[in-house]
């Protein structure tokens, strides 16, 4: 994937992602998932690391969110496990299938979305989306957010460490919340001041409101073939999903 031109790569992965969103069948979603894993493997991404990033948090949360769907009062259908007789509460086959499909769909979407930053330098991602017509202001904000999110996160961690080093007992929940509020205030002031200075630094270096960058990547036959392959794959999988194939 690293050898694919960034714009083509983003478009292809978005097409695959849309295909996954439109799939209703669990088998189709599993195939989409396997394709994502295969792409990660072929891109020399350590599979353990990839699986951790894709499957640990977001799909687990999606699974938790979809828990109510498995019950008969949300999705009526054939009971597979009766929890209470009066009132009647049970887990239905249709509910479980819906929850699995939903969780699998989220996992598949995440697995394609995560392939973009894992196989492309961030600047190439933003320049590519700029070339695809995303407004300059959105790209500037995205770049600044990507640059400063780590820095501010470090600031928060330092504040927490400093608080811990000056505390002599475990704080109660209310006290923690009050101190947390103060920390958020301090972070806001720091962010504001830093934002102002960053703007001055941009002005000082010739910023006039427009982004200028050099995009060196060129689309080759190999990129076009990858795009065509992705489109054909998605069409075939959707036809299979709808029972036409």
């Amino acid at each position: 994937m690293q050898n694919i031109e960034s714009r083509i790569k983003i478009i292809s992965l978005v097409i695959l992602l849309i295909g996954a969103v439109m799939s209703k069948n669990i088998i189709t979603l599993i195939i989409f998932n396997i394709i994502a894993l295969l792409l990660a493997y072929l891109s020399n991404i350590p599979i353990k690391y990839y699986l951790k990033r894709v499957y640990i948090f977001i799909p687990i949360f999606a699974g938790i969110i979809s828990i109510p769907v498995i019950f008969n009062f949300v999705t009526p259908g054939h009971d597979i496990l009766v929890i209470l007789n009066n009132p009647h509460i049970s887990i239905t086959y249709e509910g479980v299938i819906y929850a699995i499909t939903f969780t699998l769909r989220v996992a598949t979407c995440v697995s394609y979305a995560i392939l973009i930053p894992m196989t492309t330098q961030w600047n190439k991602v933003t320049y590519a989306i700029g070339k695809l017509g995303v407004p300059d202001i959105v790209i500037t904000i995205t770049n600044l957010a990507y640059r400063y999110i780590f820095l501010l996160l470090n600031f928060v961690l330092d504040m927490m460490s400093s608080r811990k080093s000056r505390s002599i007992r475990k704080l109660g929940m209310l006290e923690s919340w009050i101190l947390g509020g103060k920390a958020i205030g301090a972070l806001f002031i720091k962010t504001y001041e830093m934002g102002e200075d960053t703007y001055y630094a941009m002005l000082s270096r010739g910023y006039t409101g427009e982004i200028k960058y050099i995009y060196n990547e060129k689309i080759t036959i190999k990129d076009i073939l990858f795009l065509i392959f992705s489109i054909i794959l998605v069409v075939l999988l959707l036809l299979f999903d709808r029972g036409i194939l």
Partner: protein, 277 residues
């Protein structure tokens, strides 16, 4: 000598009414190193922002190469580009200067705004190689050490080959090796004919200057580093190089010392002459 900056009765008030600068008068000449010293909250950074046309004085006039710097003047795109090509500002905190996703993009930022794409590519690569940071070009600024960040922020300025370089605390929180690299860079700027205006608490950097100003909302001293360091600086809340302290102490003890050295090399020369080694 050609005047680069001339400030006449410059005052600046923050929006909350706090006075940062009061009737500041100073002149900076071409190809000199000028240091601005002073305690915290003395208005030093505000003064540099005024010199860089980022903020404008509440009262008084700032002239750059004989032209009055005004907000209106810098809204003209051509004049603004000319001014930005001539003046580079290295901020104290390199993190505010490094806002792009990679070091290469960072160094290319100004050239892309001020030159053609071909020239921007050429100067970016040249500056990265000259500053010996080419190997960092694909790194995210967050992953750089303090010294590397400082070098990259200086490279960002050098990529437009400015005639005037403004530096706010260039050696703050650097290890000795990075500090010496920055000091050597400042010396090389002078050799290349550039004008350097520095804010610093580092007395070793201050001693590099041709002239220095002590600022505490107003200018309270103007002269050479030698003149400054032979004064009692405790009242001004300024430090003196250790080697100068030693000679001042010996002088106060009654030893026949006529000259106070600022650097170890100067001290060695003086002692060599004294003892005729």
């Amino acid at each position: 000598m050609k005047e680069v900056y001339k400030l006449i009765d410059v005052s600046y008030k923050y929006p909350n009414g706090v006075v940062a600068l009061e009737n500041v008068n100073l002149t900076i000449y071409k190809n000199e190193i000028v240091t601005i010293l002073g305690p915290n909250g003395a208005g030093k950074t505000t003064l540099l922002k005024i010199l860089d046309g980022l903020i404008f004085p509440s009262k008084g006039e700032v002239y750059f190469e004989g032209k009055l710097l005004t907000e209106k003047l810098l809204t003209d795109k051509k004049l603004m580009a000319d001014f930005r090509k001539k003046v580079g500002f290295v901020f104290q905190n390199p993190d505010v200067m490094l806002f792009n996703p990679t070091v290469w993009d960072e160094v290319a930022y100004s050239p892309l705004h001020l030159y053609s794409k071909e020239k921007a590519l050429e100067v970016t690569d040249k500056v990265l190689k000259d500053m010996k940071i080419y190997h960092l070009k694909d790194r995210h600024p967050y992953n750089l050490s303090g010294g590397e960040k400082k070098k990259v922020s200086i490279a960002c300025i050098l990529s437009i080959e400015p005639e005037v370089i403004l530096m706010d605390e260039p050696t703050a929180s650097l290890d000795p090796k990075s500090r010496n690299e920055v000091i050597n860079l400042i010396k090389s700027f002078k050799e290349k004919g550039k004008t350097v205006i520095l804010i610093t608490h580092d007395v070793n950097i201050a001693s590099l200057a041709d002239r220095c100003y002590v600022l505490n909302k107003k200018i309270i001293f103007e002269g050479t580093p030698k003149e400054l360091f032979s004064l009692d600086l405790d009242e001004l809340n300024l430090d003196v190089p250790d080697v100068s302290k030693l000679f001042i102490k010996l002088k106060n003890m009654g030893y026949n010392i006529n000259e106070i050295p600022l650097t170890v090399d100067e001290a060695v020369n003086l002692l060599t002459k004294k003892f005729k080694i």
